[in-house]
């Protein structure tokens, strides 16, 4: 790691001010930042440690929704009884992410700032070209080994996949990120790579994630997170789906549906086309499978990641049908 100075923040305002200075970065769980500092991707001049701030780890849940403090740990949120009962997809997404150690360390705010696992991004010593690291330097992934790269939301500048599970569930249920007073939909917080893949989040210098809020809904209460991967635990998604459903009184007609994809796109990927195609329809396997194909409309593969285009709709269909069975 390159030399940096360490500052322990004593208040949220002090942390924001310190982190606004050039070269300064906020340090919470450290699972992304210290890791990336070690491989030379993150080169902070100052780390502002916010883990000693009080009160930013609260979790409050009621009829209207949940508010989760930025410093709440992934494991704590996953295991929270009211999150499990009112937002099963959120709890399941967190449980299926990482390892016990990482879930105990990583914070909810830091989780949203998680960077891609693109091996070219993470290896500056061997791959100088990466538009995400250095704007305009090129992309080593395009034409390289692409099994884990995105098929949705890509650009000519970047095909890096967004690897997180939690945010996939958050976009499905219209969660907002609180940056102090400013509030942004999670869907707007994450940016498409376009021509500026180095800019991943709509967060400005001097801003800090303070909380995440998730509105309560019948669809959130009846929800699940289905993650398909190379092994059963401690692995990123080959494709995943956060799905929530609400039926009409007949128990068969879909009143509300939420669908988001993980593991296949450059950001957490809400698929309203699938939602719109199925709202008002009776839940039948054939209808669901046909509509789920809309999840990958516009997908573009780069060779080895072609399987994601076939896999993702099946994951969506399986998750929706699973929720139908629990009627």
């Amino acid at each position: 790691m390159r030399d940096f100075s360490y500052l322990r923040a004593t208040s949220t305002d002090a942390a924001r001010q310190a982190a606004a200075l050039p070269g300064a970065m906020l340090l919470a769980g450290g699972t992304t930042l210290i890791d990336l500092a070690k491989c030379g991707v993150a080169e902070p001049d100052t780390l502002v440690d916010i883990t000693h701030l009080k009160g930013l780890d609260r979790i409050a849940v009621d009829e209207r929704g949940a508010t989760i403090g930025a410093l709440a740990r992934m494991g704590h949120v996953a295991d929270h009884a009211d999150i499990k009962s009112r937002f099963p997809a959120i709890s399941e997404a967190l449980w299926q992410a990482a390892s016990a150690q990482i879930r105990n360390m990583a914070t909810i705010g830091g989780n949203l700032m998680q960077r891609t696992r693109c091996p070219y991004f993470r290896d500056p010593a061997n791959f100088a070209a990466c538009n995400k690291r250095v704007s305009g330097s090129g992309c080593s992934a395009i034409g390289g080994v692409t099994r884990g790269h995105a098929v949705l939301g890509t650009s000519e500048a970047c095909i890096a996949m967004y690897p997180g599970d939690l945010a996939t569930a958050l976009v499905a249920f219209d969660a907002t990120v609180h940056l102090g007073e400013r509030k942004l939909l999670v869907d707007d917080f994450f940016l498409l790579p376009g021509t500026t893949p180095d800019r991943e989040h709509a967060i400005e210098p001097g801003e800090m994630i303070t909380a995440i809020a998730i509105p309560g809904s019948a669809a959130a209460r009846r929800s699940t997170y289905l993650k398909i991967r190379d092994r059963q635990s401690y692995e990123f998604a080959a494709a995943s789906a956060a799905v929530g459903i609400e039926f009409e009184a007949d128990g068969r007609t879909i009143r509300d549906l939420r669908v988001a994809l993980g593991g296949v796109a450059t950001k957490p990927w809400r698929v309203r086309a699938v939602e719109d195609a199925l709202k008002g329809k009776v839940l039948e396997p054939e209808t669901v499978r046909a509509a789920s194909l809309l999840a990958v409309e516009g997908a573009v593969d780069h060779g080895a990641n072609h399987y994601k285009i076939e896999l993702a709709p099946r994951v969506v269909a399986r998750a929706i049908l699973k929720l139908g069975e629990t009627a």
Partner: protein, 158 residues
């Protein structure tokens, strides 16, 4: 450079040290305090060889800065045995031969200790899920899982 003064409790003892900003807690434990039980495997949080318990949370000490530990309570594998009296988990790892080269063992022991503290009666699946963040490249995990199951039975009866 003088370094950052940090005061912690390690295995029940108040411990103070000076460290540089870029030193991990693993570096501090091993190189400054002589607690070499925790190992550096990957250094990136993937293998769990550096596992310790920090304020009741199992964590990878390779991704924690030494400076962050101010005021925290740390438990390492060195705190598991009492003199010559091995912890039940250590005894069961020996009896089941749940190790070969031993590099991953301190991490597995402390992770298993944390697992059983939170779930005294885990199923095999829960043990495998709970220990997924600890990698062993020698034994293939079966003996480790059996050692933890056996230890859980003894510890429940204690």
């Amino acid at each position: 450079m003088a370094g950052i003064a940090v005061s912690t409790t390690i295995n029940g003892d108040i411990t103070e040290y000076l460290c540089q900003p870029d030193e991990t807690l693993l570096d501090v434990l091993r190189d400054r305090l002589g607690l070499t039980g925790a190992k550096e495997g990957c250094g990136t949080g993937d293998c769990g060889a550096c596992s310790i318990i920090l304020d009741n949370r199992l964590v990878c000490s390779c991704l924690v800065l030494g400076a962050e530990a101010e005021g925290r309570r740390i438990e390492t594998v060195e705190g598991m045995a009492h003199g010559d009296q091995l912890h039940t988990l250590q005894q069961k790892f020996l009896e089941h031969a749940a190790l070969q080269c031993g590099i991953c063992t301190p991490g597995f022991l402390i992770a298993a200790k944390d697992l059983l503290a939170k779930n005294p009666d885990p199923s095999e699946e829960e043990i495998r899920f709970g220990l997924a963040g600890n990698l062993c490249r020698c034994t293939g995990y079966d003996k480790i899982v059996r050692a933890v199951q056996d230890a859980a039975i003894v510890m429940k009866g204690a």
